[in-house]
Each structure stands twice: as C-alpha cells, then as structure tokens.
C-alpha cells in the first residue's frame, strides 16, 4: 500500500512536560491505523501537530513525500487532512450546517458578491446528515444538540472535507452502539476509497473491530507498531500500560440492603415519561438506552438540576422534593456528570480544591477554611482513588482525562452520599483507569452505597449491574435482572417503541 504520511523524530514539550519524545509513525492509504495509549500518552498532541494546531519542537512530517511542517490549519485542511477532535469543537450559536462548513464557505458555497450562500450550505448539510442517518434539521442551532448529536455533526464535518487522511480522536466517546455502527460502516466505505484513517479510542472492542494496524505510545514515547491481527487484547494492554490487566470486571461482593431511592411515574415532557424504579443499598442499577433516550435528563432531574413535571421521588421511604443540587447533596445524593468539562470540575482550581468543593462546608470554622482538615480529606481521596497528580496543588486542567474523572468522582464521594449516580463514568478514560473505576464501583456498592450506572457501553452495564433498566425514547421498556440482561435483549428493548 502507498505511504501517505511519514513522521519521524517528532518531539513536543509543554513547559517542562515532555508530551512527545521522538515519535515515529507511518500511515498507508486505505488503512485504519489505531493510535493507542493511556490518558496523557500524547495522542491528541501528536494529532494536533499534524493539523498545524501545535508547532512541534523537533521532527519531520511528510505528506505524500512533501514536508508538512510550519503550515497552518487552513493549509493542512486543503492538503487533505481532516480531524474529528477529542473535545467537541462546536460554535454553539451557529447552526448545524454553518458549523459543518465553517472555514470552507468560500470553497463550497460562494454566493453572489462573495456572500455566503446559506441555502447551498443547508442543502449540502442535509445530504450529509441523511447519509449518516441523523434526523436533524441543518438549521438547528448547535447549542440545542445533545453531546452525542454534536459529535455526529463533528463527524459529518470531517467527512465533508473529502480528505485523504482522516483523524478520529475518540469519535465515539459520546455515541451509543447504533451511531457507532453507522460510523463503522462509513469507515469501511472510506477505506475502500483509499482514505487512510488514524483512529484513537479507549474502547478495545472498537479497535479490534476496525483497526488494520496499531501503534502504541506510552508517556510520549513510541513503543511499537503491529498489524492488528497479530495482537490480542492483553498483549495490547501490556504494551500500553506496561503491565497486564486480566479480569476487567472484578466480581462484586456487595449485599443488597434496604431501599434508598424510589422513583414513581417521573415525567419531564419531551425528555422522559412515566419512569418508575427503585435502588437499594449495595446494588448497582444499570440504566441503558440509545443516545437521546433521556437517561441523563432523568439523572439530572433526580439531582435537582432540572425540574420534573410530574411524579414522585422517595428517599428511604420519604417523599422528597429536590429543587437544587445543593439539596440533593444534603440529602445524600451524588451525581457524576457525563460532561465533566461542563459540569464536573472547575479548571482554574487545584486537584485538592476540586475534590473538596462540594464538601467544603465540613472543613470550615466560622467561614474560614480549616486547611489541615481539607488537606487530609483530599490526600485520602487522592490515595484511595489513586489519582495520578504531581500533588494536591496541581491545577486540575493539567491532569489526563482519566484522572480528571477520578477527581470528579472523589469530589462526589467526599459529600458522603448514600446514592451515587454515575453518568458515563468511563467516557474518554483509558483502560487502566477504567479498570480502577470498575473496581471502585464495586467497592462503593460493597460499602453500602446505592449506585445508578448510566453507560452507553453495554459490556460495562452487563459487567457491573445487578439489574438493568432500559429506556427507549424517554420511556422505560424493561427492567432486567442480571441473568436476563444480555447484549441482545438490552438492544432489543432499547429500540422498542
């Protein structure tokens, strides 16, 4: 196969952090090349350098034999490299179509007198959306989309570039299986057309489903490149992590205790309807469903972030009205959001300050923070959750995704909840950290917490839940026991109307 991209000796440091150290990489036309590595291994940094978004300190990048260094994004896009970014890069006030063709208006829809021809843009967008099976009006403002929908639009945007090299940095992190399926079909199409794809993901099953070649980075250094067929999961993990992880889903030792939360006929018009269920101490209740099924909205309503229109919520048998997160936390409910950037942490604050943010009131005297008490609590959480940070005072922004997730989890745990709702707790988290979070979920249940686990990764739901509630378009369609729950049954109920 033709070599499209050759990279050698690529290095990049941020201040003192060596994010990339003499990395090499070769990409051939028509291949899906997976780039693997733990959180913070340098994958996104590498890709941003390719796109011209970051300037490398050293190294060479050749696209079809021509050097690519020192070019700006616009040039790179023109030369046929496009990228789906890990963090969703949408302009909230512009429409779906406007977002999709942002930066290329002159190329695709030059109107009279140099105006933008929005009608043309809308037509093109409608075609692409259709191709992706996305039921979305091109004129919808981006800000009204769910994370998943935005991610699909980002995918459409990258595809519309007709690039020779397509970079996908965790494109499925917010997608559920159906959309992932669509994406994979498109990837197969592109492969046939000779497009090369660099694919980054923390989801092992995806990698083995589509990758032809796998390159592994660890701590910014190049570890190796192998054909996917020669690798199995444990070898790959060992390359990435430097150790072996055997049983991803450890056995649970929890006992089901008294009822903690009961929800009766909870409805929020347009989002979820007539939802009833209960969770007990020591139990993990899985919430499964397709994208937009209303699981997040349900959790938000229970946590007091949104208001339900009707229905009741009972905590330990007592009817409660929860109007704010403040009240939810006081009543022993914790919520780890799926959107950790928007709702999880405060970027400017340190690891310690984020950890204690929700429980700061218990470390104060007359309004003054008792520093020793705060430090002790944070240190304990850092140890317990094995948060990898240079120290409690490191700004949380500099942490890898997995560790940021642990900080958010730690923050919620420090409020000593009796019920914890985890919404996509392993989104964007590497395999090592995932394993630790799974262990933690089991520990939490074993220590007597009630856990609600919302996840779009069915293996996760199946591996951890005691019971599974399936939602479809906001309506509960099944409540499955551990024995009944299989990938097939869940999917069947999730698509039921």
């Amino acid at each position: 196969m033709r070599e499209l991209l050759q990279v050698s000796g690529l290095s990049k440091s941020f201040g003192g952090v060596r994010a990339l150290d003499r990395v090499r990489f070769t990409l051939r036309a028509g291949e899906v090349h997976a780039l693997m590595g733990e959180n913070g291994a340098g994958k996104s940094t590498f890709m941003k350098i390719l796109m011209g978004l970051l300037t490398p300190d050293a190294g060479e990048v050749l696209l079809e034999g021509q050097p690519l260094r020192g070019q700006n994004v616009h040039e790179v896009l023109r030369r046929g490299i496009a990228m789906i970014h890990q963090e969703i890069l949408a302009v909230p006030e512009l429409t779906v179509a406007q977002n999709m063709f942002l930066g290329r208006e002159k190329d695709v829809a030059a109107g009279r007198w140099g105006w933008v021809n929005d009608r043309k843009i809308n037509q093109l967008a409608a075609q692409l959306l259709d191709q992706l099976g996305l039921d979305l009006a091109p004129t919808t403002p981006m800000k009204y989309l769910s994370v998943a929908q935005m991610q699909m639009v980002e995918i459409a945007k990258a595809l519309s570039n007709h690039a020779k090299v397509l970079i996908m940095d965790e494109p499925t992190s917010a997608l559920s299986d159906r959309e992932v399926g669509t994406l994979f079909r498109i990837i197969q199409d592109l492969k046939r057309q000779g497009v090369a794809i660099i694919y980054i993901s923390h989801k092992m099953d995806e990698i083995f489903a589509i990758a032809d070649t796998i390159t592994v980075l660890r701590d910014g250094t190049y570890i190796g490149t192998r054909p996917a067929a020669e690798l199995d999961q444990s070898t790959l993990i060992a390359m990435m992590v430097g150790r072996e992880i055997n049983d991803l889903f450890p056995a649970s030792t929890a006992h089901r205790g008294e009822e903690v939360l009961a929800v009766r006929n909870l409805t929020r018009a347009g989002y979820f309807t007539d939802v009833s269920f209960e969770v007990h101490r020591g139990e993990v209740l899985g919430l499964a469903g397709l994208m937009g099924a209303g699981r997040t909205e349900l959790a938000r309503a229970i946590f007091g972030l949104d208001r339900a229109d009707s229905g009741e919520i009972y905590l330990k048998g007592q009817r409660v009205l929860i109007s704010s997160p403040r009240e939810a936390i006081r009543r022993g409910i914790g919520y780890v959001s799926e959107d950790r950037k928007a709702l999880g942490f405060v970027p400017g604050l340190s690891v310690q300050q984020n950890l204690t943010l929700a429980s700061l009131r218990s470390h104060q005297k007359g309004g003054l923070i008792r520093e020793q008490s705060e430090r002790t609590a944070a240190a304990a959480m850092i140890t317990n959750l094995r948060i990898k940070a240079s120290g409690p005072d490191q700004p949380v922004t500099y942490l890898s995704g997995g560790n940021q997730q642990k900080v958010v989890l730690g923050k919620v745990l420090l409020t000593s909840p009796e019920l914890i709702m985890l919404d996509e707790p392993t989104r964007g988290v590497d395999i090592g950290a995932k394993f630790e979070i799974y262990k933690l979920i089991n520990q939490l249940a074993a220590s007597g917490l009630a856990v609600i686990l919302i996840s779009s990764e069915l293996p996760e739901i199946l591996g951890l839940s005691d019971r599974v509630l399936v939602l479809s378009k906001g309506r509960p369609t099944a409540l499955l026991s551990k024995a009944e729950a299989t990938q097939e049954t869940i999917m069947q109920y999730a698509m039921q109307h």
Partner: protein
Amino acid sequence: MKSTLTDKVPLRRIGQYGIFLALVLICLVLALITPKFLTVPNLTIIVTQVSINALLAFGVTFVIITGGIDLSLGSMVAVTGVVAASFAHPDTYPLVVPLAMGLLAGVLIGAFNGFVITKSKVPPFIVTLGTMTIGRGLALILSKGRPISNLSDTFNFIGGGKVLGVPFPILVLVVAFVSCSVILRKTVLGRYMYAVGGNEQAARASGIDVSKVKMWVYTLSGGLAALAGIVLTSRITTGQPNAGVGFELNAIAAAIIGGTSTSGGTGTMAGTLIGALLIGVISNGLDLLNVTSYYQQVAMGVIIIGAVVLDSFNRTSAS
C-alpha cells in the same frame, strides 16, 4: 423529539425581540402621556440624535461578537473629528480629503488595537483603555487643546443638512445599518466573527485565521467611530478635542441591551439599533416630560434596567 427542537425556533425569535416590545411599550406610554412625543419632527430628532451612538454601537457589536471590547470609541470620535476638521476649512481641500483623513485616523487606531490584541495576549479591555487615553491625548495634541472651527459648508452639511427633508445623519445611519447587517449576516467575515466569539478553538481548528478576524473587527470599529466622529464634528461645526467622553459606555450598552452577549458569539445589528433607539427614546421622553435633571438620571437607569429585565424574563419564559 426533533419536532420540539424545530418548534422552538419561532418562539426564540419573539424572545429575541423582547427588547423591541419594551421599546414599543415605552413609546406607547410616552405617546399617551405627552402629545409632543409622537410627532414627525420629534421622531426625526430622536433618530438624528441616536445616529452617532448607533454608529459606534454597530462597530462595537462586531467587536463584542468576537468576544472583545472597545473602550477607545469616545476618544476615536475626538481624534477623527479633530483630524477631519483640520482639513475641512472652507476653500482648502475638497470634501473628500477631510472625510478620507478622518476615516484613515479611525482605521489606523482601530488597526493598532487589533494589532496589539492579536500579537500579544493583553486583554482587549486594557489595550483599548490604553488607546482611550492615548487617543484623548492625541486629539488634544493635534488640536493644541483648542476646538477647530470655521469649517466649510459642504462639510457641515453632513451633520446639519437634509435630503428630501430627511436629516443627513439619518441617511448615514441607514446606510451603515444595512452595510453592517450585510457584513454580519451574509459574508464569510461575519460568519467568522460569530465563530471566533462562540468558540475560538473551534474557529482555529476549522482553519479560520482568528487574528485576521480580530484585526478586521477592531478596524471596522475604528472606521465606524471615525464616521461617528465626522458626523458629530459636522453637527457641532467644530472639531472638539474633548468630544465623545464616555460615548463607549453608551455604545456598549446599546449593543448589550440589543442582545449582544459580552461573552461573545451572539448579537445582531437590528438588536443593537433597537438598543440605541431605546436609550434615545428614553432620554428624549424624559426631556419632554420635563423631569428634573437629577431625577432624569435615576429614571434613565431604572427604565433601562427595567426594559432589559422585561426582555430577560421574556426570553426565559420563551425557552
């Protein structure tokens, strides 16, 4: 579920024009209280008076949409006015010279703002606050601290003349409004302004030259400030080095009242125009009602806050 998304758009539209309803309401009240309000001469005067603030507000709307701010507007009005006046004495240069020089001065200061903001990481607030002080100094230096008067009749026509009974400043306002609306809504540049203000990283990743867009908005703001400076100078038939003090706050207020968010990414020229008209109508109304000077200030503040509160509740209930 998708249908609910589409339903929302018209509702949003009304919400967006809540401030328009506030304007209409205030006009109605004034028309009822005083017969002097709803007369052609009075309305003409309001629009003429609003024109200068509106020109500045259009420029700063561009800037705010990209997430910036421009505090140098008032000083640019003074500098450009002084520069234009220096070339506008009778029987010296043809009219185009003072106009061109005034515009050039504004464009240069605006470009300087843009240059410093894009080349360094200094916040726009500080850069334009600096230019505000520098500009005031320049206006005084250029005029030696004295008003520049004795301007030609052709120059004075811009602020004082009428075409078919319509004061010339109103024509300038209309042309500027249409042009600015077109730039914002129809051109690539306008689209990029929203992108830069809405999500600068996304704009950059889409290959947009963010610095170029910012250079443009500050330069446009400077150009429009120059236009305002020229209209003002011609209206008071003098290049006044101390003109325009505090104009920036009124212009920014007009933009924000009209729905432009200081965090960037939103805003329309129509909204800004309504914002400027709102301020103008309130001020005119309070004068007509002969509210005492001190109480006028209190009333002005209360009514503006009230109008925007009304608008905001309207918006919240619509979404």
